[in-house]
Symmetry: D2
Subunit: 145 residues, 4 copies
């Protein structure tokens, strides 16, 4: 990707998406890396994200992965919406864990994108595998010439 495309991706994801996304901010999501079709984000697991046995609710890992999907797929500067997502939780997530989600593009056509998100903990252990399909509406985030 060209430096210009990466800069555009950063503006869309950081300024237009993440900074306006109340729930991702509640999760304390930080953007580590972004490029068209790719992103890496992180968040810490707090007490209020657990189910009372000090284990994170499955919805927390899903939410982080779903944000990663939204960021990576929209970073092409074409608005994309989720069609179908699936997740397998492979290892328990506990309070004080720090999760990192890496979203990779597996396939891209004019209408659809397919993405894989791997969520790891601070020991680089995979805690969840997520797959998502998005529909690309054709509408741009930022007009370019």
């Amino acid at each position: 990707m060209s430096p210009k495309e990466n800069e555009l991706a950063l503006t869309i994801v950081q300024k237009m998406m993440l900074e306006n996304d109340a729930f991702s901010l509640w999760l304390d999501v930080k953007l580590l890396q972004v490029a068209p079709g790719y992103c890496k984000i992180t968040c810490p697991v707090r007490s209020e994200m657990t189910n009372g046995f000090k284990i994170a609710h499955g919805g927390i890992t899903y939410s982080l992965a779903d944000s990663a999907l939204a960021f990576a797929s929209n970073a092409h500067n074409i608005k994309a919406v989720s069609v179908e997502t699936s997740i397998s939780h492979t290892k328990k997530v506990v309070e004080h864990d720090v999760l990192t989600a890496i979203c990779m593009e597996k396939n891209l056509s004019s209408r659809f994108g397919i993405y894989e998100v791997t969520v790891k903990n601070q020991r680089e252990e995979t805690v969840a595998l997520f797959k998502g399909t998005v529909f690309r509406t054709g509408e741009k985030w930022i007009e370019t010439f």
Copy 2:
């Protein structure tokens, strides 16, 4: 189901699961109905659950559906853990919507259960379809004789 099984289901889900589940409480989840293999729960959509365009983050609907899966599948008094879940978001969810998730058992064997959760808004419109597979560990929540 016998009245006794339903009473056991209520104790497990309300007292042992929901009342200890910090994240479900943050979501303000209320249990409307529960029986072995079935539950109906609800939560309101607050500003902090949205992505800044007043649209609920996909993780909110997933979390409600995932809680419904956990409650319905554990209501058999056998501990069950999620193996794989998938969700399709079919309609936008906005601030002030009230979501209701109904979890139905589609198949049950000694080791696995398959569930479908339909999430609707206050106008009875389907906003998400969720499918979940759980592994049944064999361990009981409450010893019965």
Copy 3:
């Protein structure tokens, strides 16, 4: 649905789809019922469909369910293509079983349809649960006025 819509559905599915579908014919698929968004089809399990332990290959049940998805979703007289499908095999299928797949529409929008297919054997036992999402291209099978 009106009688006219059902007649159109039958023409599309029986004449334009099934009778030209070499692989569905190899499976010996028979159409039992069809309407816009719905169909019921059946096929017998032959020796060459098994994996050598007299158990049907997972691809056989998937193929029957996938044909059911194609028939039900295209029966609206709008060409629809599969975006994502998933299947859980819940019971072994053996040689001489007769499978029946029932496809129900769970959600329909202008662009997407979500369908559930239940596959049963001759004893009415569920052998597989299938979920499919299709994209509706907008193109008609038969021009109507």
Copy 4:
């Protein structure tokens, strides 16, 4: 993996599974590579596998991917059964195409394995992405000491 483990994998998959699998033989599946948790298999697309528009039935690609899942997951010398599989068809497959499925292990625990299968055509274009979860029964294919 040790040479001995790979030899065991080859015996299980080639001799005990593929050579007895009538439907994989009908598909003309050939084993190109196998190791514990991994395999690469191929098959040609014949006229009888199409839906009459010279496009392969979705069940053909699924069946190849599902065989790849079975071979890779059982190559650990522990019997494994499919729990849930999903597939996205990303490009049309036509008569005379030659498909290759590569199955990679994404996660392995004592009870479950998660696999990704990528199916490509003879031009190295991805035609389908498949994800599968298996349950590991604990039973061995071949007793080892």
